[in-house]
């Protein structure tokens, strides 16, 4: 048995750096390349693509990533694990096979395709047999939106990936695997961890949680001492260097930028955290209050002491459904009186929408540069005077003494509703303001706001016993 296994995180979401996967296999020795492509909203985007073209529905970026690491896989034995399959893992695998053929290495790839997470075709059967798939947040049964469902995928655990690796795959493609299973599975495979080795499984999950968002644990988006994080232009993506006893070191390749420190890793540990004692996965419940961190050397953080408990008998299901339409438009108002002009434009626009008799579920106005992100916490009017020379409340302000006059303010106004026509009409009402509203307005080069169909997210639970995964090996 190997005493150290190095799993490199090369992608934190679909849309992450195109260069990171290659940098991870070329910057130093690694055993596995883990690529996480799926966020909650990603599944619905992929589902829309599959509706337009049945051969799509997977993360296309993965094909480019595979091309960039092909030599490392075929000649140096690096194995790739990715949830790039999205809502169509078989098509994703076919595209990788095609790539390998065109590069003349078809015989050197052994691709495992994990399926069984897709429950879309089974929803009625499940509901009829007593699985309400109630919304975990609202308690509503799925039947309330059944006719609008676009996709439904169970979050599956590490077992099918371990199976694929045991059968010799050097590329494992899954659909809706949990992000963390992609890292934990190779550790189980290499170290022979059993399905009830709760502390070890939990350690693998924590390693996965740390590296699943790419550079977000190695200096990216890191608030702690952010000015002094070196060379983010060349940021190193993370590597988990794991031992059979479940301890591991988070590090990155030499010569890369960013930082791996106790604060950088801690920020990632608390990211998207719920109850820290109950980090529930299909494989194990990890207790984040048992994690111990220590700076072992420059850019090396040792993680140990992790405890876990038996998993539940449920799987989480990610369901995407159509939920109306939205559009967001923006205009930029310049000094003088930038904020006041944006406020007046907002009032005018709302009067016109009223007069047109348009009804929306919601209209939201934000003033970017003033209060869009922190609302009233940024002080009344974000500490910005609405008028030249006017004293304002003097509440806390990031920009000065309360008499600061914004050089420009972006008006950002969004609407949401079920009537597509109303949203379309809204999108025609922004541009006219350039000529028939308040002055000093610009920033409309992007054209009319795009009307988007909203694909909303419905989290539910289902009994584990009803989900059967399978692993196919394509030589």
């Amino acid at each position: 048995m190997k005493q150290t296994v190095r799993v490199a995180g090369g992608q934190g979401f679909w849309g992450d750096s195109l260069d990171a996967p290659r940098a991870q296999v070329e910057g130093g020795q690694v055993d596995y390349l883990m690529l996480d492509y799926l966020a909650e909203v990603t599944m619905s985007i992929l589902q829309k693509q599959k509706e337009r073209d049945p051969s799509m529905g997977y993360a296309r970026d993965f094909i480019g990533a595979m091309d960039s690491v092909l030599t490392a896989v075929t000649e140096r034995g690096v194995r790739v694990i990715a949830n790039a399959g999205g809502v169509n893992p078989p098509s994703c695998a076919a595209a990788v096979r095609e790539l390998a053929t065109s590069r003349g290495v078809r015989d050197k790839l052994r691709i495992a395709v994990v399926t069984g997470d897709d429950l879309l075709g089974r929803l009625d059967e499940l509901i009829d047999s007593g699985h309400p798939l109630a919304n975990m947040e609202t308690g509503e049964p799925l039947s309330a939106i059944r006719d609008r469902v676009l996709s439904a995928n169970a979050y599956i655990g590490s077992a099918p990936i371990v199976d694929g690796l045991a059968r010799g795959a050097n590329v494992v493609i899954t659909g809706r695997s949990t992000d963390t299973a992609l890292t934990m599975a190779p550790l189980r495979h290499e170290f022979g961890w059993g399905a009830t080795d709760w502390n070890l499984l939990a350690a693998g999950i924590v390693a996965g949680h740390i590296i699943e968002c790419g550079a977000q644990c190695s200096g990216g988006n890191c608030l702690h001492d952010w000015r002094n994080i070196p060379d983010l232009a060349n940021v190193g993506y993370p590597i988990a260097e794991a031992s059979p006893d479940g301890s591991f070191v988070i590090t990155k390749h030499p010569g890369t930028g960013g930082i791996v420190s106790v604060p950088s890793v801690t920020e990632q540990l608390v990211y998207e955290m719920g109850d820290p004692q109950e980090y529930i996965t299909p494989d194990v419940i990890a207790d984040f209050t048992t994690i111990r961190l220590a700076q072992e050397g420059p850019n090396r953080v040792r993680v140990h002491g992790i405890e876990g408990r038996p998993a539940t008998d449920k799987l989480k299901v990610s369901i995407a459904y159509k939920s109306g339409f939205k559009a967001v438009g923006t205009l930029v108002y310049a000094w003088p009186d930038a904020l006041e002009k944006a406020q007046v434009a907002d009032r005018i626009l709302r009067q016109r929408l009223d007069r047109l008799g348009l009804e929306f579920d919601q209209i939201l106005t934000e003033f970017v540069g003033v209060s869009a992100t922190h609302g009233r916490l940024s002080g009344e009017n974000g500490g910005i005077s609405t008028r030249l020379g006017e004293e304002n409340s003097g509440l806390p302000t990031a920009v000065g003494n309360g008499n600061y006059e914004a050089p420009e303010v972006q008006l950002r106004i969004g609407v949401r509703g079920n009537n597509r026509g109303a949203i379309e009409r809204f999108s025609r009402e922004i541009a006219p303001l350039v000529l028939n509203g308040p002055p000093s307005v610009t920033g409309f080069a992007g054209g009319r706001p795009k009307v988007e169909e909203i694909v909303a997210y419905w989290p539910a639970l289902v009994d584990k016993t009803v989900v059967t995964t399978s692993v196919e090996i394509a030589e």
Partner: protein
């Protein structure tokens, strides 16, 4: 003594549906106790009053010198439904760090809090 959280903690936030989470981490191990004492469900609810449609939950992680808060109903519906710029709650982290806490001078001295904390 009034202390702004930004001067004694760092943070990261994320989302799950319509709930934002904010993990607040002490910049110095000695300051965790101060955070734990002053960042209560009540004080955080007060800080965000009018900005959440749901309640606040609080969890302690003394091993990481961190507290985790769940801010329910923080994201205008969350995910793809939300019209907000910050639909995924990415910057609730620094919104919480705007909070000013009032620490008795003796406690502040005992914990070695920065004396000249920037006036908020």
């Amino acid at each position: 003594m009034k202390i702004r959280l930004l001067d004694i903690a760092h943070a990261r936030s994320g989302d799950k549906g319509d709930t934002a989470n904010v993990g607040v981490i002490a910049l110095d191990p000695r300051w965790y106790e101060v955070l734990a004492r002053h960042l209560t469900v009540e004080s955080v609810e007060r800080h965000f009053s009018g900005m959440l449609t749901g309640r606040v939950q609080r969890f302690e992680l003394p091993n990481l010198m961190a507290l985790n808060f769940l801010l329910h109903g923080a994201l205008d519906g969350g995910g793809t439904l939300s019209l907000k710029t910050d639909a995924q709650g990415k910057v609730y982290s620094t919104a919480l760090l705007r909070m000013v806490i009032d620490v008795p001078d003796s406690d502040a001295a005992a914990a070695g809090l920065p004396r000249e904390a920037e006036a908020p």
